[in-house]
C-alpha cells in the first residue's frame, strides 16, 4: 500500500514531524480505517526516501498516542481511534475549559460557595433541575 504522504525537502520542519502529522491526519480523518495494515518500516522508508530511524520514530510516536498498534511479527495497524483516543481528547478539552472557568471565577473574587452556585445554576439550566 502506498500512503499519500508528501515530503517537502525544502522545509526546515524535521522529516519525522512532516510524516507524523500527515499520517496522523490520515488516521484521525478516517481515511485510514481501523485495522489497516501499514507498510513495514523498511517499505515506508524506501517509498518516502527516508531512513528507517525516522519511520520507527513516527510509528513509535503515533503508537504512544494510541493511533497505531504494533503486533509482534505481523506489523503495524491503525488502532481504534474515535472511541478511545478521540473521547479521551474530548474529555481533556472539557476539563481544561472547566479549569479555565474556575480560574476566571477565582480571579473575579468569588468564594467556593458562590462559584458552586454559579456552576450548579448553569448545570440545572442545561440538564434540568436535580431532585
Amino acid at each position: 500500500m502506498r500512503l499519500p504522504i508528501q515530503i517537502n525537502e525544502n522545509s526546515a520542519e524535521p522529516l519525522y514531524h512532516q510524516i507524523e502529522s500527515q499520517l496522523r491526519a490520515l488516521i484521525v480523518s478516517g481515511q485510514l480505517l481501523e485495522n489497516t495494515l501499514l507498510p513495514s518500516n523498511r517499505e515506508l522508508a524506501q517509498s518516502l526516501n527516508c531512513s528507517l530511524i525516522t519511520i520507527r520514530r513516527v510509528y513509535q510516536d503515533l503508537e504512544a498516542e494510541g493511533l497505531l498498534r504494533t503486533r509482534q511479527g505481523s506489523g503495524t495497524f491503525v488502532a481504534k481511534v474515535d472511541t478511545d483516543a478521540g473521547s479521551k481528547k474530548l474529555l481533556q478539552t472539557a476539563e481544561a475549559a472547566v479549569e479555565a472557568a474556575i480560574e476566571a471565577g477565582m480571579a473575579a473574587g468569588l468564594t467556593r460557595h458562590e462559584l458552586e452556585e454559579v456552576i450548579r445554576h448553569e448545570l440545572d439550566r442545561r440538564y434540568g433541575k436535580q431532585q
Binding site: 522545509s11 526546515a12 520542519e13 524535521p14 524506501q46 531512513s51 530511524i53 520514530r57
Partner: protein, 355 residues
C-alpha cells in the same frame, strides 16, 4: 571551528585514551536498538555488525585512523568522502587483507585476524571490492558461480539466477569479456545469492547505467527486508546515499569526521535569505533604516555562514534549520528564500570545519 559546528559535533564522542573519533549513532537523539555498550561485544548477539576500535595503519605516504566506528545491525550505513580518504583501506582491513598497526576490528561479534580459520565468519559476509579481480578474467560466469556455491552452505541458486535475470547479466560470458557494468552486477549477484548477514560494498554502482542502478537500489532494499541484515557501503553517488542509507559516515584524510543519522543531517542544513522585518515599520522608512547586516544574525542557531546578499538581505547557512527558522520568526526577520543543502555541500562544510 565555529560554535555551531562544535555543537553539531556534539554527537561525536571523544574517547578517553586517544583523540580517536568515536562515531556512535546511539549517542544521538534516536537511540533505540542501535544502542551499543562496551560489554555487548562479548555477548552472543552484538548490536553492531561492524566495530572499529582505535584502528590505525601507518604507511609512508598515508596515515589511516585512529578510526572508531560502530555500524548498527539492521541498517544501511554509507561511507562518503573524497578520493583517498581511506574508505577502501578500511574495507581491506575489515576483510583481513591488510593488518592494522594498532586497534581492533570486529565483524558480527567476532574479532578480525585473530583466529586461524575465519571461513565460518566469511560465509556470513558478502564483500564486493572496489576493483574486480583481474585473475578471474578467463573464467566464465557460470564456472565462478559453481565454484562459489561450493564455499557457501547457504548458497541459493534460484536467487542467483533471479538476480542475473533482473540485472540482465549473461553468465556464460568470460568475466574479462563482460562490460564493466555487467561484471559489477555479476559480482553483486554472486555475493547476494548466499544471503549474507552483512554486505560490505565498495562503490557497488560504479560503471552501472541509470536503469541498472535503479534495479540495484531496489535489490538492496529487498535484501534489507529480510531480518537483521546490515549493509556497509562506500559510495560517491549522493543519490544512492539518499535512497539507501540510514546512517552516513563522513571520512576525509584517513579520519572519520562523524557519523550522522541521514534524515537529521539532510534536513538540518539549510540556506536562508533573511530580510529585515517588513511589518510594523513605516513604509517610507523601509530603505536604509532596515538593512540587515550579517552582524545582526550572529546569534542565529547553527550559523555556519552569513554574508550580505544585496537588497538589505543576508544569505545565511545553518546546520540547525528548524531552530534557525523559529529564531528568525521570533526576531521578526522575514525569510524570503530557503533551500536545503545537498549532501555534497554538507559534506564539504563538515570536512572544512573539521580541519
Amino acid at each position: 571551528m565555529n560554535k555551531a559546528m562544535e555543537q553539531e559535533k556534539g554527537r561525536i564522542e571523544q574517547s578517553a585514551e586517544g583523540n580517536a573519533t568515536e562515531a556512535n549513532p546511539a549517542k544521538g537523539n534516536h537511540a533505540t536498538e542501535a544502542n551499543q555498550s562496551e560489554t555487548s561485544l562479548t555477548e552472543k548477539e552484538p548490536s553492531s555488525a561492524v566495530t572499529l576500535r582505535s584502528v590505525m595503519q601507518k604507511r609512508s605516504r598515508f596515515k589511516l585512523g585512529p578510526l572508531t566506528l560502530n555500524v548498527p545491525i539492521g541498517h544501511v550505513t554509507a561511507i562518503v568522502g573524497p578520493n583517498g580518504s581511506g574508505k577502501s583501506s578500511t574495507f581491506r582491513l575489515l576483510m583481513d587483507q591488510s593488518r592494522p598497526d594498532e586497534g581492533e576490528l570486529w565483524l558480527l561479534g567476532e574479532q578480525v585476524g585473530i583466529g586461524l580459520d575465519d571461513s565460518l565468519l566469511k560465509q556470513r559476509i558478502g564483500y564486493v571490492p572496489e576493483e574486480d579481480n583481474k585473475r578471474d578474467a578467463g573464467l566464465r560466469g557460470t564456472f565462478k558461480a559453481d565454484f562459489t556455491a561450493e564455499w557457501y552452505p547457504s548458497w541459493n541458486g534460484n536467487e542467483f539466477e533471479r538476480l542475473l535475470r533482473e540485472f540482465e547479466v549473461d553468465p556464460s560470458l568470460r568475466l574479462g569479456k563482460m562490460s564493466k557494468g555487467m561484471r559489477r552486477k555479476y559480482e553483486l549477484a554472486l555475493v547476494m545469492a548466499h544471503g549474507p548477514d552483512l554486505l560490505l560494498l565498495d562503490e557497488p554502482s560504479s560503471g552501472l547505467d541509470p536503469i541498472s542502478w535503479r534495479k540495484l537500489v531496489d535489490e538492496l532494499h529487498r535484501y534489507m527486508r529480510r531480518g537483521n541484515r546490515t549493509i556497509l557501503m562506500a559510495t560517491h553517488i549522493m543519490d544512492e546515499v539518499k535512497r539507501l542509507a540510514d546512517y552516513i559516515v563522513v571520512m576525509s584524510g584517513g579520519r572519520i569526521i562523524g557519523m550522522y543519522e541521514k534524515d537529521e543531517l539532510l534536513s538540518s542544513w539549510h540556506t536562508f535569505y533573511v530580510g529585515p522585518a517588513t511589518v510594523g515599520l513605516p513604509a517610507h522608512g523601509a530603505g536604509s533604516a532596515t538593512q540587515l547586516a550579517p552582524e545582526a544574525v550572529q546569534a542565529l542557531p547553527g550559523l555556519v555562514n552569513a554574508e550580505e546578499a544585496g537588497g538589505g538581505t543576508c544569505r545565511v547557512t545553518t546546520c540547525k534549520a528548524w531552530e534557525a527558522e523559529l529564531w528568525c520568526r521570533q526576531q521578526g526577520f522575514a525569510i524570503t528564500g530557503q533551500r536545503a543543502l545537498e549532501l555534497d555541500e554538507i559534506m564539504a562544510l563538515l570536512i572544512r570545519d573539521s580541519l
